[in-house]
């Protein structure tokens, strides 16, 4: 699962390609315009490499950090079916992380460097994972709606221009369809269940509503725009378009269960555009900058995993073997 990458003003300014050889740049852009993919050995503008690497790396971090909120309930799933599904789902998130780190590695940064940057705060991950999973119903809501949002994002990104990222996303989207189904199944069981079950589901929806609106990033009118990234097919849809697609697909699936969203202004207007109350973009910024309820814990647990596992990785190390960037 994943949330959208945000281009900051500074990033947009840095998107400078004036020092690239014009002939190569033209051939590169022509290739993308023809719908062909870029492969790791190809010439590419430095900015393309940088932005893509940043995006895939953030996506990879989001997968392995995203395993933590759901992992919260891994030992407490209420029956065999849910227990197996939840373990398999959290496992998939780690698997997706593995695929994405591998795709990012082809751009020339090692997995270890990326993990280091995650832990020292240089590299971000999706904000949505900085919120706690307070009850079992959170697992249902994450599995259905956070994964649903992630699928909107990932299906769009899988049409991008970088071959290794597209290949990873194709496999990820296939596996996410299991996540979505089991998440929906879980939501439906709670919604059609006892009073207690409906109450914890409603409570979870109330708490996840805002983080879900934040998921696709700030509104287009607030975020720096990059024609270049669109042209290079690094970014393929605007934040608002993706958010609208998500609301369109998923809001009705919650409402049909007689569960509500905590927003009197949530509605679809006559143009097919969803309207909603301001979800407090200041909070979004606070959480991105480390001020969310679980930022510290997420990093502390990841740091533990890296540190506690170090002896295993080092014992496997063969100093005679030289690392080379993977091929595809």
């Amino acid at each position: 699962m994943y949330g959208s990458t945000n281009i900051t003003e500074e990033d947009a300014r840095r998107m400078n390609v004036s020092d690239e050889e014009p002939e190569k740049l033209l051939a590169f852009e022509d290739r993308i315009a023809r719908g062909e993919k870029i492969e790791p050995g190809d010439w590419m503008p430095k900015e393309y490499r940088r932005q893509l690497l940043r995006m895939i790396e953030q996506h990879a971090h989001s997968e392995i950090v995203g395993a933590l909120p759901e992992g919260t309930w891994i030992t407490r799933a209420p029956n065999f079916r849910r227990k197996l599904a939840l373990i398999a789902k959290v496992q998939d998130e780690i698997g997706h992380g593995q695929l994405l780190y591998s795709a990012a590695e082809t751009l020339g940064k090692t997995r270890e460097q990326m993990l280091e940057d995650l832990l020292n705060g240089k590299s971000k991950y999706s904000n949505v994972f900085n919120y706690p999973a307070k009850t079992w119903a959170d697992i249902a809501v994450i599995g259905f709606l956070v994964d649903g949002a992630a699928i909107v994002n990932q299906v769009i990104n899988s049409k991008g221009s970088y071959g290794p990222y597209c290949r990873a996303l194709e496999r990820i989207c296939y596996e996410e369809s299991f996540h979505l189904k089991q998440g929906h199944d879980n939501v439906v069981y709670l919604a059609t269940g006892t009073k207690h079950q409906r109450a914890i589901l409603q409570d979870a929806i109330n708490r996840w509503y805002r983080p879900l609106l934040h998921f696709f990033g700030p509104p287009d009118k607030m975020s720096a725009h990059s024609e270049k990234l669109m042209k290079w097919k690094v970014k393929l849809a605007s934040n608002d378009d993706m958010r609208n697609q998500f609301l369109d697909q998923y809001v009705p699936k919650i409402l049909e269960l007689d569960i509500t969203f905590p927003d009197p202004n949530l509605r679809k207007n006559n143009d097919g555009i969803w309207e909603f109350s301001d979800p407090d973009w200041e909070e979004f910024k606070r959480v991105i900058n480390g001020g969310g309820p679980c930022n510290a814990e997420r990093l502390e647990v990841r740091r533990y995993a890296e540190e506690a596992g170090r002896w295993v990785r080092q014992a496997l190390l063969n100093p005679q073997e030289k690392y080379q960037v993977p091929l595809a």
Partner: protein, 252 residues
Amino acid sequence: MNNNAVKELLYKMADDALIIGHRNSEWTGIGPMLEEDLAFSSIAQDKIGHALALYTILHDVLGEPHPDQLGFMRKEKDFHCCQYVEQPIGEYDFSLMRQFLFDNAELLRYEALTRSSFEPLAQLARKAKGEIKYHVMHGDTFMKQLGNGSEESQARLQSALNNSWHLALGIFENSEFEKELIQEGIFTGEEELKRKWLEKITPTLEAANLKLPATEENKIVYGGRKGSHSEFLTPLLNEMTEVVRTDIDAEW
């Protein structure tokens, strides 16, 4: 056929599988490297799947309660898992050693059971054998690599082995039905299993540069098969059933 003997065998196998699967799943998402996180999680899932399959035989063939009841609603004293599987995950060396020692025993147990006179169990054993073979391949490969890896990894594994040894031998605690199980061709018995297990793990541990600890009979941790458990099982069960206990009548 002696139903009590079969039930006893199925319960202890199922309980072992559920509890070790539950413990191993605690590593999912925080393993020592991404690829190993995946492998260890699959092993955990397979174990819980085996537990479910065994409880299902108990339910469908032998008239015991529903698998979810058996897994999530029994009291501690009704569990017949060995105390080894109840132990907390510790550091990765302990968990890996347990995976290696337990799964080698499991593979031999399931191999023997493919010839069981109790056909539902023989069928399950044939179906699960490939999965357990992979678990053993995983355990054996990591033992050899890490035992011959760094000084630290060798020392960690040796100390994990020393700490595990008398717990692991508790896997082979006799049930009160050993004679019936053997006579009726249901299972070859714990004594024979233990002998084969020692034969199987000894060369692997040697190749892994690890020394087999001396066995002191009076230190072997028995009791689990008779419902007597370590201090770790009750908290484990309380945690595992936390959600389901919030609303006993609900369908989850």
